[in-house]
């Protein structure tokens, strides 16, 4: 299971036992009964340890799981779930931003416009995609595709996974703030269903630009926050060592956000996190997306728009009743 997989600090005790299992398996491929027994015993131990560790992950540990390099990214979901995926490029203004992927395709037989933050999975693609940090052209492309979906009456799915919008001179020069604002505005104006899934890290304005959906799903160990724990720690604690404390204070876990009514539903991850079983994660999210779209689709466009707007207009009124 752990062959070549990136091991997080708190997963080390688990990885050690898994290492032993592998060693035992290597020593005997003869089907020795004693070895098989020992392997079975160790596997039970691994499962127990995974269960107990993942049942009580701290917000900081969840932050690491959410950023795990082997976690499925937007394109993994798109490649697995979207038939006839046809990427569409460009903002018709300045350029094409590969930090946001988007296009047309079929999800379970029906046309959708799908958008996602994509950070890449090796050095070359990470550079090409600017580590998933979009520039104005990325948000303007998102806006363009959302409006196209609206024009053709096609539902929108967004997959959010970004550290945030790119902080750079060129991005500012081309109006990063305005591009994000217009993307939020476009989402809030759609008369078609929009379902958002926070699949990894939902970082700040760069995330909400794609996250103003009718239904907002969130994977069990994903995080979603106004600022990264590191950024918050360096500002409020004046030390990046306090990221752990900041992660707790920010209430950025799916469980916290459900309680705050910022998200609508938590999508369970396989035991040990999405990176341990990518296929199962993708399947589970697919079912959740399908259910969410199914619930929205019968509604008339004006109703979808009005309900989405009411929902976001109410954000922060929790606990006052």
């Amino acid at each position: 299971m752990s062959g070549g997989m990136h091991v997080l600090d708190f997963e080390k005790p688990i990885a050690e036992i898994e290492g032993k299992i592998e060693e035992l398996r290597r020593l005997t491929d003869t089907g020795d009964v004693n070895v098989a027994d020992e392997v079975g015993r160790l596997q039970v131990k691994v499962d127990r340890l995974l269960r107990s560790t993942y049942a009580k992950l701290t917000p900081w540990q969840k932050t690491q799981v959410a950023r795990h390099p082997d976690r499925p990214h937007a394109l993994d979901y798109i490649n697995a779930l979207i038939e006839d995926f046809t990427p569409l490029a460009g903002d018709r203004c300045f350029g094409e931003d590969q930090a946001i992927v988007g296009g047309l395709g079929r999800f379970r037989g029906s046309s959708v416009v799908i958008l996602g933050n994509e950070q890449g999975n090796d050095t070359q693609s990470r550079l090409a995609r600017n580590f998933g940090m979009a520039k104005p052209e990325g948000y303007r492309k998102a806006k363009r595709l959302m409006e196209m979906a609206n024009h053709f009456g096609i539902p929108v799915i967004t997959l959010v996974d970004t550290k945030g919008a790119y902080p750079g001179v060129d991005a500012e020069a081309r109006g990063q703030a305005e591009a994000i604002a217009r993307s939020i505005e476009a989402a809030l104006n759609l008369r078609v269903p929009m379902v958002t899934a926070i699949i990894g890290e939902g970082g700040s304005g760069g995330a909400i630009a794609l996250a103003a959906g009718n239904t907002v799903l969130m994977l069990e160990h994903a995080i979603y926050s106004v600022i990264s724990p590191e950024g918050c720690a360096s500002i409020l604690w004046r030390s990046s060592d306090a990221a752990k404390d900041a992660a707790t204070a920010l209430k950025l876990t799916a469980q916290d956000l459900l309680a705050l009514k910022v998200i609508d539903q938590i999508v369970p991850e396989p035991l040990g996190g999405a990176h341990r079983n990518r296929e199962q994660t993708i399947r589970t999210l697919s079912m959740a997306l399908d259910a969410a779209l199914g619930e929205l689709t019968p509604n008339e466009g004006g109703v979808l728009r009005a309900k989405r707007r009411e929902k976001f207009l109410d954000m922060g009124r929790v606990g006052l009743e």
Binding site: E172, I184, V226, V318, L320
Partner: protein, 304 residues
């Protein structure tokens, strides 16, 4: 002049404003370093007479200089939950809030008022930078929502004046959600085809700039105001090079096509009055309102 103005008013003022600034106070201009006599500063609307730097304004001064005769009506904002996250860093957020309230005498970082600008009835939502850096949490979001609703109710233009470092970190995700919330709010004004004007003041950054602040029908900025999404330090740390001269200043945004105009503080009221008047009182041709019934269906809002 009668005995009333001569004798009673000064006394009353002394009662109302016990901490009158002493006459001999000088302030240092943060831009050029010159000492400026406070009376000159008051007279010049807090613009440095040496270099033209527009100093940050308290919210009451801001409102006082925009409305006709300095007269306006503040509205009480709906209550919101203090400290929804029970946030604590090195200090408890509730204590930070308490301190800010004592320091500023305000409940949070936004004030909503209505009154007349150039005889036009307008609603103004102005940020108070002195309150937690003007950061946007739920209460500020509530202020923008209330201002938008009031504008719709009064059939009046909405003018929002941000002065904010961005989201209120201590309200976590709920502060991020205010970006979507305020976007819906100002859209409601636009749907009614009421003018939505944003006056960007120093600073307008982060989550505030990336939502309602960049969605104005017309965007005005004060000279030298810092306007942008990411903070200059964050950008410097990311790209590891010096930022270009004038980066993220109002004039830079004007050049990049991100705002309509940069307006000196002394001309703001007049500019706002003219814009509102042009958009609302369109003259003989435009005042033939019944003609507007013939607009094609696509311009008619069919929801709500």
């Amino acid at each position: 002049m009668n005995w009333l103005t001569n004798y009673v008013r000064p006394k009353l003022q002394a009662l109302v404003r016990p901490k009158e600034i002493p006459d001999n106070l000088w302030s240092k201009c943060p831009a050029c370093g010159h000492m400026v006599f406070h009376r000159d500063l008051e007279r010049d609307l807090h613009v440095c007479q040496h270099c033209g730097h527009h100093l940050r304004l308290s919210v009451t001064k801001r409102l006082g200089m925009l409305f006709d005769d300095g007269k306006y009506q503040r509205i009480e904002l709906p209550k919101t939950l203090d400290d929804p996250l029970k946030f604590r860093d090195q200090k408890r957020y509730v204590d930070r809030l308490k301190d800010a309230r004592v320091k500023t005498g305000e409940h949070d970082a936004i004030v909503v008022a209505h009154g007349r600008i150039g005889s036009n009835n307008v609603v103004v939502a102005a940020f108070n930078f002195e309150f937690q850096g003007g950061s946007m949490g739920v209460a500020v979001g509530e202020g923008v929502v209330a201002a938008a609703e009031l504008a719709v109710l009064q059939d009046a233009p909405l003018i929002v004046i941000p002065a904010s470092g961005g989201a209120r970190m201590q309200e976590g995700i709920l502060s991020l959600m205010q970006m979507a919330r305020t976007t819906v709010a100002v859209d409601k004004v636009k749907e009614k085809r009421l003018p939505y004007i944003v006056l960007l003041t120093d600073p307008t950054t982060g989550g505030v700039s990336a939502s309602f602040a960049m969605l104005g029908d017309i965007a005005i900025a004060e000279p030298g105001a810092v306007i942008g999404f990411a903070g200059a330090r964050v950008i410097e740390n990311t790209i590891r090079e010096k930022l270009p001269e004038g980066f993220q200043k109002a004039e830079y945004l004007l050049e990049k096509g991100m705002i309509d105009m940069v307006v000196h503080r002394k001309d703001l009221r007049q500019t706002l009055a003219r814009l509102v008047s042009l958009l609302r009182h369109r003259g003989p041709a435009g005042d033939l309102v019944p003609m507007a019934v013939d607009v094609p269906d696509i311009y008619v809002d069919d929801d709500e």
